[in-house]
Subunit: 252 residues, 2 copies
């Protein structure tokens, strides 16, 4: 019996320079592609001649189920995500579906191909903010209760973690970022550096710096294409770069 | 006046498939390379014909100072790190030296090229552990006081973060991992899944699963080439894969 294969492919931020050879090879090896249409378009070159299932945002479980169906039919399929499929990406829904179908762990084969994640793209453009312990927190309460997110923000603020906020703000969700700011202000100085990166490594890229006390999502244009990085108590700014010292070293 | 350029290049886990085209291009564009000798050897092909400054571990500030000197002299230099140079990597020492020299922010130019980090390589091989909020904590107390690391472990354990431990254990540092385990056991069940990945994407690669109560660094062979991933309260194992549900979904 021929066994299928499912690749979980992280495309990185979207430019060709940050697409790994392993990701390109996985797409080339696939019969079919499944993903949000915007990501499918990003790899139009690599996807030429393949069956592409371009879907809308918010259909993650449907996309995962379709891909698993294709793999069980004996074909090779790539599920494409921006950034890293393993970080808040399509790996979650796919493993959810595989669990529900009592997948035996090897047939179809499942392989995750890492990609440059949003937190890395943001850090690279900001300077060196991630030189000390850090955390990633998604402010989207679509799948997680706000109380749980709030509890994590409190813990990270108290533990002096550099914090990367995913999904910081959308048209409908505007209060969460302001609440997060207030939680951090209870633990860190109002002049703590905050980095704001929108559309990293894309033509529309915009990078700016703010301070925690001035973190106003509306004024700073924070949206779903934005990653926000809050420095720890030692993070400083030197000529436009956000720098977190590694430890004992004095603040710059 | 000709201005130099300094690239901070993340090589990823070390295999060719996970070296980004942008990283390869930065190395190709450089006159000289600076890095730990093991990483310089990893890119021997790309580095052919260039002046290579291969240095020993523990000389991070010396490496950074040498690279900054080369860039100030007007040449193009690449500082190479494994994983991502921006995550506990060479970006820190380089920005430290740049700050000390009152770098003006553009001359020499400094560009960070992200790479696939250890936390991503580990997650890709384990399943989908990073589908919920997570943090990275280094257990090395060489540059950070243990009390501060301990405080972060407490906060992350209490906040139910999936936790990626960097530098979990060395020949001389054996107690930290056991102390971390005990901190997490105060907040999570002893059967919480733990993933252990050694030499990800290299010929010596070894991936195993344990439970929090059985996390014994000696027995499990945890060393400086190992990344340890502790699940959150919802993480489960399905046929050898470590899966963290995205949120409201029930545990598998």
């Amino acid at each position: 019996m021929n066994t299928g294969k499912l690749y979980l492919v992280g495309l990185g931020p979207g430019d060709a320079g940050n697409l790994t050879p392993a990701a390109a090879a996985a797409i080339a090896d696939s019969d079919e592609l499944v993903g949000y249409h915007y990501y499918i378009e990003q790899v139009a070159g690599e996807a030429a001649g393949k069956v592409s299932h371009a879907m809308e945002l918010g259909q993650e479980l449907e996309r995962a189920a379709l891909a698993v169906d294709i793999a069980y039919s004996g074909k090779t399929v790539a599920v494409v995500s921006s950034g890293d499929a393993g970080i808040y990406g399509m790996a979650g829904p796919v493993f959810r579906v595989l669990t529900d179908r009592q997948w035996n762990g090897h047939n179809p084969a499942v392989e995750t191909v890492p990609g440059v994640s949003a937190l890395q793209s943001a850090a690279a453009l900001l300077g060196s903010p991630l030189m000390q312990d850090f955390c990633a927190i998604s402010l989207s309460n679509l799948l997680t209760p706000w109380e749980q997110i709030r509890r994590r923000l409190e813990a990270a603020a108290a533990g002096d973690f550099v914090t990367v906020l995913y999904n910081p703000r959308s048209r409908r969700r505007v209060s969460q970022l302001q609440e997060a700011r207030d939680i951090y202000l209870a633990h860190r100085s109002s002049d703590t550096p905050v980095g704001i990166v929108r559309h990293a490594f894309r033509p529309e890229q915009a990078v700016s710096l703010a301070v925690l006390g001035g973190l106003d999502g509306e004024r700073l244009g924070v949206d779903m294409f934005t990653t926000v990085v809050i420095g720890n108590s030692n993070t400083y700014v030197h000529n436009g770069r956000m720098v977190t010292p590694r430890g004992y070293e004095a603040k710059g």
